[in-house]
């Protein structure tokens, strides 16, 4: 069995597996539609397509890259008529509409047949109804990115508990700065805050029950989460007018030192570096502990899927195998690539301050479990109504009863 070899042999294993007779004679056309439209991911995707094409001389690889935001609404058209073979999407509940409508191909046989070594840990996020519907290619941690230099100046240390967090925040406020930058115009950033506060207050399992619609939004435990959130809001911890900014527009607050921290995903780091902050000025810490529950973390996973209407299934499966193989994973998630975490257990993690910290946190300190993100764990409609309520709460915390009532009404309708 090739699969028994680990990291060092994985690269070799990959090439051999692909050279095996079953895949050797791939031919025809492989059509890939990707949403990796930002400059760095785009280069990675084009590299992947070119490398895969070079490995299979008889195969023509056609790659079409669609704008990442536009793809979120275009995917349904792309999958309905003359679908490509391979598409990009997101894990967990975000797949559900496409899985239910039979637009993604069931690839459970690839997992059970041992075609995807090193992916056992991430299999769960790809599973709906006990079957697997795609492969991940990258994931990244969320957490609090903060201005190390300002913390030093004010004599603050990375907090481990919510009390310390609030004590720090009070000192930051006293120094005339805001504690957290956030841009909630497009709503989802508020979802990140709720995820963490709820996972810390009530635990990961409760958070998942809420996502699955098993708990009422008006439940006292949910209210407790909001009460913790309100403590920060009442302190004035968040920047003003955040409902007018996108997450990118909220970055300058951190860059200029008007706000000292930002709860966001690792994708913000390149932007902070580009804006002129050095690694001595920015650092990362895990969202602090609130109640005595195992720490759950958000780590959204980006994925590849085979369309159920794919015309070249063999090539599509070989491509998925290629993308998830250990060495390709090390390469595309490296500092020259996506700068994120590889999903293959046998890959090496890039030597980068933030990726290393994130990897350590997720592999050792996320004992509660790993969530995808508010808008990927909750069903689409619940997520959109929910995030709107969360934004309203951040601006008008007094409306909480009304907001929860609305969300509960939506819950009862959506999870029938």
């Amino acid at each position: 069995m090739l699969r028994k070899f680990t990291s060092a042999a994985a690269a070799l294993a990959m090439t051999t597996a692909l050279a095996a007779p079953a895949h050797a004679d791939l031919e025809g056309t492989l059509r890939i539609m990707s949403d990796m439209s930002n400059p760095a991911p785009r280069a990675i995707m084009e590299g992947l397509a070119a490398d895969f094409g070079a490995m299979h001389p008889d195969l023509t690889v056609e790659l079409e890259i669609v704008d990442r935001e536009a793809w979120k609404s275009q995917i349904r058209n792309a999958l309905s008529a003359n679908p490509p073979d391979v598409v990009n999407w997101y894990a967990a509940n975000r797949m559900l509409p496409y899985v239910e409508s039979g637009l993604f191909m069931d690839i459970s046989d690839m997992y059970s047949g041992g075609d995807l070594p090193g992916l056992d840990a991430v299999k769960g996020a790809m599973t709906i109804d006990g079957k697997q519907w795609g492969v991940p290619y990258s994931y990244y941690q969320w957490g609090i990115y903060y201005r190390e230099d300002i913390f030093k100046e004010l004599g603050l240390a990375e907090p481990a508990t919510f009390e310390e967090e609030m004590a720090n925040c009070q000192k930051i406020l006293d120094a005339g700065k805001k504690c957290y930058s956030i841009g909630s115009k497009f709503l989802w950033t508020a979802g990140g805050w709720f995820d963490y506060l709820n996972m810390r207050t009530n635990g990961f399992d409760f958070h998942m029950e809420l996502a699955q619609g098993k708990v009422a939004w008006t439940d006292d435990r949910v209210r407790e989460t909001f009460a913790n959130w309100r403590k920060l809001i009442d302190m004035g911890a968040f920047i003003d007018d955040h409902q007018t900014y996108s997450w990118q527009e909220a970055l300058p607050f951190v860059v200029n030192g008007e706000a000292t921290a930002y709860l966001i995903g690792n994708f913000a780091v390149p932007h902070l570096r580009e804006a002129g902050l050095t690694d001595d000025q920015i650092d990362f810490y895990q969202f602090p502990k609130i109640a005595d529950v195992p720490m759950g973390e958000d780590a959204p996973t980006d994925t590849f899927h085979i369309a159920s209407g794919a015309s070249n299934v063999d090539a599509a499966k070989a491509f998925l195998q290629f993308v998830t193989s250990a060495d390709v994973q090390s390469k595309i998630n490296g500092p020259d690539g996506l700068g994120q975490l590889p999903i293959n257990a046998n890959s090496s993690v890039a030597d980068d301050e933030f990726i290393q910290q994130g990897f350590e946190m997720l592999s050792q300190n996320a004992t509660g479990g790993i969530a995808q993100f508010f808008d990927r764990d909750f069903p689409a409609e619940m997520a959109s109504i929910g995030m709107e309520g969360l934004q309203e709460f951040m601006v008008f915390p007094d409306n909480l009863d009304d907001i929860l009532g609305r969300m509960e009404q939506a819950r009862q309708r959506i999870y029938k």
Binding site: R76, E100, S101, L103, D241, E381
Partner: protein
């Protein structure tokens, strides 16, 4: 004697019906496209609105027939109510573009050096894309760096975050929309003013009319066709307001700036929208509102044409 005029030789069917066939043939492409892209989709929307369907896969397989339940849900949906009220606000306030356009047109309707340059400057906002207008105005409104707050600061007022305040945001967007719409109405009135009869103005002047009276009793009645067109384009513009909302607030803060067209898009087609049936029900309501105006426009055009024929 040619064959066509010889009564003894029977003419072909084509030749006999030429007067009927020719207009029909000319109409056919237009009618065909109008039917395929406008008429049939209207009935499809009605049909889809009676289903619960996520828009993926076939309606007949995946859709669940729910009768009028989508409409019942609309009745209790507060987001729908807000969108409907915002539509009313848009309709009412957008009409300000007509008097504003008229006064700019009157102001510009003179012959001085370089008047064409001034006219084009006033017309400029209509030429640039709505997306650009939206961006410019959202920068103008920015809570800290925006020009508006800078100006308010000079007078000791502010700062206000117009687009972040649920009670003000819609008005902020309408103000942005009025900018290009006023320019549009202005150009309609400028062409209308060219057609004003100078003899009537002269006669009115001899009778001692001037100022407001001249405008109200002599000029404006002659501008009636321009006013009608301005009214039509403004109403339609108000009902299809979408780009500005999408660019400036994305429907927020917390859904307070949505209008029906935006809400429909959000429910049926956006990132998190998988409710084709519900979206169609919203579309049907929007269509019924539009139908009131379209009916009025058609009726008034029909009346005018009949009047002209008499």
């Amino acid at each position: 004697m040619t064959a066509a005029t010889d009564p003894t030789i029977p003419r072909s069917w084509m030749q006999r019906n030429r007067m009927t066939i020719t207009p029909l043939l000319f109409l056919a492409p237009g009618v065909l496209f109008f039917a395929v892209y406008v008429i049939i989709p209207i009935f499809q929307s009605f049909y889809i609105s009676t289903f619960e369907w996520n828009g993926l896969g076939e309606l007949s397989e995946q859709g669940e027939y729910v009768g009028f339940r989508n409409y019942q849900e609309l009745m209790t949906d507060r987001a729908f109510e807000i969108s409907l009220w915002n539509n009313v606000k848009w309709l009412a306030l957008y009409l300000l573009a007509i008097p504003a356009g008229l006064f700019i047109a009157l102001f510009l309707n003179q012959t001085i050096m370089g008047i064409r340059i001034y006219k084009s400057l006033f017309f400029f906002p209509f030429v640039i894309s709505q997306v650009v207008v939206g961006l410019v105005f959202s920068w103008f409104y920015l809570p800290r760096e925006g020009l508006l707050n800078l100006v308010l600061g000079v007078f000791g007022a502010g700062p206000v975050n117009i687009l972040g305040d649920p009670t003000l945001a819609t008005y902020g967007i309408i103000a942005a929309g009025l900018w290009p719409q006023t320019a549009y109405c202005m150009i309609l009135y400028l062409t209308g003013l060219n057609a004003v009869d100078p003899e009537q103005v002269e006669a009115a002047r001899l009778d001692g009319a001037k100022g407001w009276k001249m405008l109200w009793y002599v000029i404006i009645p002659q501008l009636k066709p321009a006013t009608f067109i301005a009214f039509v384009v403004t109403i339609i513009g108000a009902l299809r307001s979408f780009d500005l909302i999408s660019i400036m607030t994305n429907g927020g803060p917390f859904g307070s700036t949505r209008v029906l067209s935006f809400y429909m898009f959000e429910k049926a087609l956006s990132e998190y929208g998988f409710r084709m049936g519900y979206g169609s029900a919203i579309a049907v309501v929007l269509f019924l509102i539009m139908l009131v105006f379209i009916g009025y426009f058609l009726w008034s055009m029909y009346r005018d044409e009949k009047g002209a024929r008499r």
